[in-house]
Amino acid sequence: MKSINAENLSYKELNSIIRQSNDSKFCLTGVMGQRFIGCALKNKEVEISGIPGNALGACLNGGSTIIVNNNCQDATGDTMNEGTIIVHGNCGDTAGYSMRGGKIFIKESAGYRMGLHMKAYNERQPLMIIGDRAGSFLGEYLAGGTIIVLGLRQEGNCPVGNFCGTGMYGGRIFLRSNSLPKDISPHIEATVANEEELNSIKAYIQEFSSIFGFESEEILKDNFYVLTASKSTSYKKKYIAV
């Protein structure tokens, strides 16, 4: 385990140390907004105390774990391939843009544009779980994978903002809530999650709960909605060839 005090290091210096080092586990302290930490990390583990800057774990690769003991900022896990990002706090905007594998677990709330254009293929199934609320534009253009928003402090109120899932054509969004957002697009099919669907995310919720010290059985007792792309209404614009 290599300890690095990031206090007077620029992001370029800090990330270069992590990249060049033969160590596989790192413990960073005094992190104050350095960007791109863990960008394209492969087979390494980084634990961060302090507030990391934007683009944490962007293009993250397999065998890698990033743990943040505080909040994180924007563009976390942007275009990530595999690996796990765990945030013991809140998350900024646009995390997991175009995520195509791996996991992002956020204990508290997240900002706008979370999980945009996530995609899945065969065994690469991305997963994002947000403990409390998420802002507007969650899961826009979703092509695959799973997003779960638990609304743990929302007391059953809808835990997302407006334009949830706009443009989605694949994947699933689960909302632990007693009501749906008011502006769900007609291209989205929103139903109460049945037993089979809940069973499919049970292991994910158990993993999330054990990391942050929640009770997964209590969480799973409540009502979940599941949003998927409607098969009957499509986005096909009518085109006529010239």
């Binding site: 791109f36 492969k42 293009c59 942007d78 275009t79 544009r113 254009h117 995609k119 694949g170 006529i240």
Partner: protein, 500 residues
């Protein structure tokens, strides 16, 4: 009673005296324009003809001719035939008009209004056959000052760059819009010629990874097929912010076109529509663009140059100045005459600016701001011949991107029907029986021939000017004179009028 608003655009004329009834035209036309009746007689369904010349080219006795159907509406300069028939189409279908390749409309072509200098008397010309002529070009950030260390040696800071044997690269055309065989030909030719090809936003096919040294990989808004192996594979990474033929809008690849191979390369499931959003939803400002540039630099350990591709639009010089300041090593500007696999007709024909004017204003602006060397400029958007290349470099480009010209070398006849997916030349299609027709080895040779020929012509024109390196031609506006241009156009292009 059926009322038909549409007449065929083309007539297929068969000379029955020459025709030997081999039936090759029937098997070679994927549009089904050639048929055989129940009685065994050859006939044509003219309305299905797209004028791609496949049947004309393969007919062993040259018995086929394609003629423009000269049915006409009453003469009307306000309402041309296409204006009227497009309204018929939309009234019937309610659809958005879809088209391919670059706009065919009659906009001024500024390349054809500029003349190149030649040396006479006061300044000897150079013979490229006898004297060395340097067409090698380096793209990337250049140092604007020279610094020395304590020993008096020049401090060299390693900046990532691209080395080209000639200032021409193959423009981005995605696997999905064109066939794998077309990609194989482009990749192979890039390697033979010592230049680069751009694999486009559809990801890089596994079989082409070994051409990595000659590949520019593209990261577009959909981020299809973008993963660590992909980022490692190429020698440069291009962030696609826009495309000349369809500035400002996203893309839509219908599920029917996503077969097993495309699905694997783009990492999306088969049969699902692939929607590329219009903006990158993680880039909403120039600061965000800088962030993505640095994500890619960090992800590739600062070893690969990052290219940002934009469409030529209003205020392009301000946009390019901003991009130069956000860390991009190379900026690619795509003019409005550039090609596309499919774009709405009205956007293709009406949105964007000509590359000649965009290039001149960007080069001038960057030089005025003292940052011209912080970035290389690559331009595209219907570069049709070696003279266009010379003029582009004289206006300020470091290199050019060719797309349409490369496809024409592979056999494209510009029938502009790519969006139908039935390209008879095996280029803009995924149908295995059609893709087979494009022989990658032969295509590679044809592309080698084209670029080699252009390179020699460029050397001759440079020698004629008394210039022996691309570097000395770059931005050398004094080598150009305008003809048939207004004072304002001359001012924007930064060139004098012929005679001055």
């Amino acid at each position: 009673m059926k009322v038909d608003y549409f007449q065929s655009e083309y007539e297929i004329i068969r000379d029955f005296n020459k025709c030997i009834d081999c039936g090759l035209c029937i098997t070679q036309c994927a549009n089904g324009a050639h048929k055989r009746s129940k009685e065994g007689k050859l006939y044509t369904e003219d309305s299905l003809c797209v004028n791609c010349h496949r049947c004309v080219a393969v007919c062993p006795v040259k018995a086929i001719k394609i003629k423009k159907n000269d049915y006409s509406f009453k003469d009307n300069n306000s309402w041309k035939k296409e204006d009227i028939t497009n309204i018929f189409r939309q009234a019937e279908s309610g659809g958005v008009l879809l088209s391919s390749m670059g706009t065919p409309k009659d906009y001024p072509i500024y390349w054809d209004k500029m003349l190149i200098n030649a040396s006479q008397v006061t300044n000897p010309s150079i013979d490229p056959l006898r004297e060395p002529m340097e067409t090698r070009t380096f793209l990337g950030k250049k140092n604007s000052t020279i610094e020395f260390d304590e020993n008096g040696d020049i401090k060299l800071e390693e900046k990532p760059f691209i080395e080209l044997s000639t200032p021409i690269m193959f423009s981005a055309m995605s696997y999905g819009s064109i066939s794998l065989n077309a990609h194989k030909a482009l990749a192979g030719a890039a390697k033979d010629l010592g230049i680069l090809y751009n694999c486009g936003e559809g990801g890089l096919h596994k079989s082409l990874y070994h051409y990595g040294e000659n590949t520019i990989i593209q990261v577009a808004s959909g981020r299809f097929g973008v993963h660590s192996d992909y980022l490692e594979a190429g020698s440069a990474i291009e962030i696609k912010m826009g495309q000349g033929a369809k500035p400002g809008i996203g893309g839509h690849l219908t599920g029917t076109k996503i077969n097993k191979d495309i699905s694997k390369t783009r990492m999306i499931p088969e049969g699902f529509d692939a929607i590329s959003p219009a903006p990158h939803h993680d880039i909403y400002s120039i600061e965000d663009l800088k962030q993505l540039v640095y994500i890619l630099k960090e992800a590739t350990d600062y070893k690969k140059p990052i290219i940002v591709k934009v469409a030529a639009v209003h205020n392009i010089s301000s946009i390019v100045s901003g991009i130069a300041r956000c860390g991009a090593d190379i900026i690619a500007i795509d003019g409005f005459r550039g090609g596309t696999g499919a774009a709405p007709l009205r956007i293709r024909d009406n949105v964007g600016l000509p590359i000649e004017l965009a290039l001149a204003s960007c080069d001038t602006r960057l030089r005025e701001e003292g940052i011209r060397d912080s970035v290389s400029l690559v331009v595209g958007g219907s570069i049709r011949n070696s003279a266009d290349v010379v003029k582009a470099i004289a206006l300020g480009a470091d290199a050019v991107y060719i797309g349409t010209s490369a496809l024409i070398a592979l056999g494209c006849h510009l029938c502009r029907s790519c969006h139908l997916g039935k390209c008879n030349w095996g280029i803009a299609t995924q149908r295995a029986d059609l893709v087979k027709r494009l022989n990658p080895k032969e295509g590679r040779t044809r592309l080698n021939n084209l670029v080699s020929a252009w390179t020699f012509e460029i050397k001759e024109m440079m020698g004629g000017m008394g210039i022996n390196s691309i570097e000395a031609l770059r931005g050398n506006r004094l080598m150009l004179r305008g003809i048939g241009l207004t004072e304002k156009e001359l001012e924007v292009l930064g060139i004098k009028i012929a005679g001055e």
